[in-house]
Assembly symmetry: C2
Homo-oligomer: 458 residues x 2
Amino acid sequence: MKLDQLQKAYDESRDKAIEDFFTFLKFQSISSELEQAPKVRECGDWVQGFLDGIGFHTELWETMLHPVIFAQWTDAGEDKPTILIYNHYDVQPVDPIEEWESGPFEPTIRDGEVYARGAQDNKGQCFYVLHALRLLMEKEGKLPVNVKLFIEGAEEIGSTGSSNILEQKKEDLKADYLAIVDMGIHRPNEPAVTLGVRGISTLEVEVQGSNTDLHSGSHGGIVYNPLHALSEMIAKLRDEEGTVLVPGFYDDVEELSDEDRNRVCLEFSENEYEEMFGAKPVGGERAYSPVERACVRPTVEVNGLWGGYTGDGFKTVIPAKAHAKISCRVVPHQDPDQTARLVGDYLEEIAPEGVKVKVNVHQGAGGAVRASVDSKVVKAFANAYEEIFRKPCKYIFEGGSIPIVPALADASGGEVVLVGLGLPDDQIHAPNEHFGLDRIERGVLLIGRTLDYLSQEV
Amino acid sequence: MKLDQLQKAYDESRDKAIEDFFTFLKFQSISSELEQAPKVRECGDWVQGFLDGIGFHTELWETMLHPVIFAQWTDAGEDKPTILIYNHYDVQPVDPIEEWESGPFEPTIRDGEVYARGAQDNKGQCFYVLHALRLLMEKEGKLPVNVKLFIEGAEEIGSTGSSNILEQKKEDLKADYLAIVDMGIHRPNEPAVTLGVRGISTLEVEVQGSNTDLHSGSHGGIVYNPLHALSEMIAKLRDEEGTVLVPGFYDDVEELSDEDRNRVCLEFSENEYEEMFGAKPVGGERAYSPVERACVRPTVEVNGLWGGYTGDGFKTVIPAKAHAKISCRVVPHQDPDQTARLVGDYLEEIAPEGVKVKVNVHQGAGGAVRASVDSKVVKAFANAYEEIFRKPCKYIFEGGSIPIVPALADASGGEVVLVGLGLPDDQIHAPNEHFGLDRIERGVLLIGRTLDYLSQEV
């Protein structure tokens, strides 16, 4: 459909769209709360019902945890390409619940924004995909290309379960293109295709001194306090310039091409950043700009650190153990598991005498993903963005990770593109998450127009 | 009384002693659980009643928290010296309660050891003082010297309240000697007088980066992660040799005399230590022996460290804040408050750009205390120990701190001595605390004989 037709179809369907979006948002599909698993499944059932209703062939793929909704409409013909679209219907927990201005599962519109858990991440972005497909099927009885959907229920828990079934579902997932519709743009009126996400691997480190907590009066100065040992080990992860000191860490890291570097480095205001987040952007590798550091350079970051007495008042304890949770963000060519192991090995090696170190590299690592600005699917999305926003499309990189993407790309064999309409202040994973109705609308147009561009010969 | 008379009196009173000791142990006088304050007071009332019953003049001194029991018997005459004895009737919390083999407030004898919270610290050591005084008063109707008792109910919470009333009670507390009966010996059959305890001051450090927790995907590499900042700051507290790098930290520290050094350095088995505690004694200043490091050298020790995500699984957060609780153990001439401030100032100064540091030096610091091996009260205790144990008395130093002691010594004007019959494996502050009935007996003899030695002309 042309843009004006799509726009007309959306305008006529607006009330129905909001009604169905709200129904979707009301499911308490928090994937990490395993005792609530039936609520996640109910939400998946609703998604499946929606797609059944518009003429897709649907399947519910059981996993060890929450099911994946797989759906396809492949009657566009063999001469038309196939696009696999990725979304997820599970959401983050809602704590701290007291900071929500309206209930996280009672969607509420304020100033054109829908407030609810998942309003953006990812139910909002999933819903405009669903609704766009519905409009096309209702108005035209068909789609311009073959469309497959992989809508999982475990993204917020590292795709536990979902990622294990990819290999066996390879045939079903086969596609020319893979669109990850879970991304954002930097500013409301700046369309952008995301060309890359970093990969991630995580590990946990335990440093043990004595076999039991000791009194710091009697033992302070005798034993090597594991809190000091761990602090010193973490301090040695990076030098004063922010360069990671783990041997081999950068071995497989490719420097960005000048072209990509120019794309990445555009438009970052240190002042704006400090105003928004209250901190100067002065962490990480000094040799690179803040945006490069966040998006295309690898990092080692401590995400949790604990040991000893942490309550009110004071306890003069030398704890037996100290702990850290550490994540590595990796870039193309870096193996995430191997990178985590390098970090773990290094920490074991630099541990001072007197403590024992245990490293546990977690399962579920995922590599980095890069899209090519020259690929047809990137161009199709870019064209659609430009047509809808009436502005040139930008190409950006995202520092976050969607661990399932590399495996999904492998399984489907499709060229990847990462798109979406998230904004930095949507409060995803936080209280008062929200997503604009204008973005539901634009999302519908984006999907509709992209499928059309994809169906055209280049 | 002579030793054999004392022994006979104790033997005859043994059942009564155990009965009363058990009564004392059953009070749940946990000073830190403020909602349980009445139970602490009940225990203090019992102590006061005991002393009333044996002919002491008693007072209950109200403080802002738990009362001090002050008692005196001063009819020995002005030509006899006055000794002020310090004990406390409050105890530590009992968690982890599930690790107790019998209830912490249900005293139980196994293999001659009494198991209960406070069995040693300090009800056991307080009780043998009380029972010794009772035997002397019952058998002789008088004591060989004037005796005052200061038995507080807040030692385990840094003498909160108790320490504030010392100045106004100066006249009452006046004494020639001050005996802190809250110490230990290294081995069951090695009598020892403690010649020194370290002082202590504590502080809390908060390191703030951004104004809110950030996602490590989008912000990793941009902001200075406060967990890294704090780790690096802690790592800079000491150099590779364990020397504290805080400017001015050692300024007032006096090197030990060779004589004292020889006392301190005797008998420390690295193997025995490692076997007992599971860690090599390789922390702290390498230039000093383990015992020196633990007893007569100052330390800076992190006792608690936390920030970020510390639960199960993983959360890719860069926390807004990281925290540490730090204690300084100080030696004679070091001002504990000033030392804590030096540490705080240093941490503020070395904090990397991009984070803000808040330091809170806690109230309630106490200085170090030293007794002289030549003082009459040290000699009196040493003589008593040698007579009872039939072994030469050792002189030891203790690394722990009893913050109220310097102020109590000031208020009383008395020469200090630190004594007791604790053993390293009494499990004080831990589950299954215990104290031997043989040590109740020896404690009674020790107090009885010491008072006798004190009454004699040198």
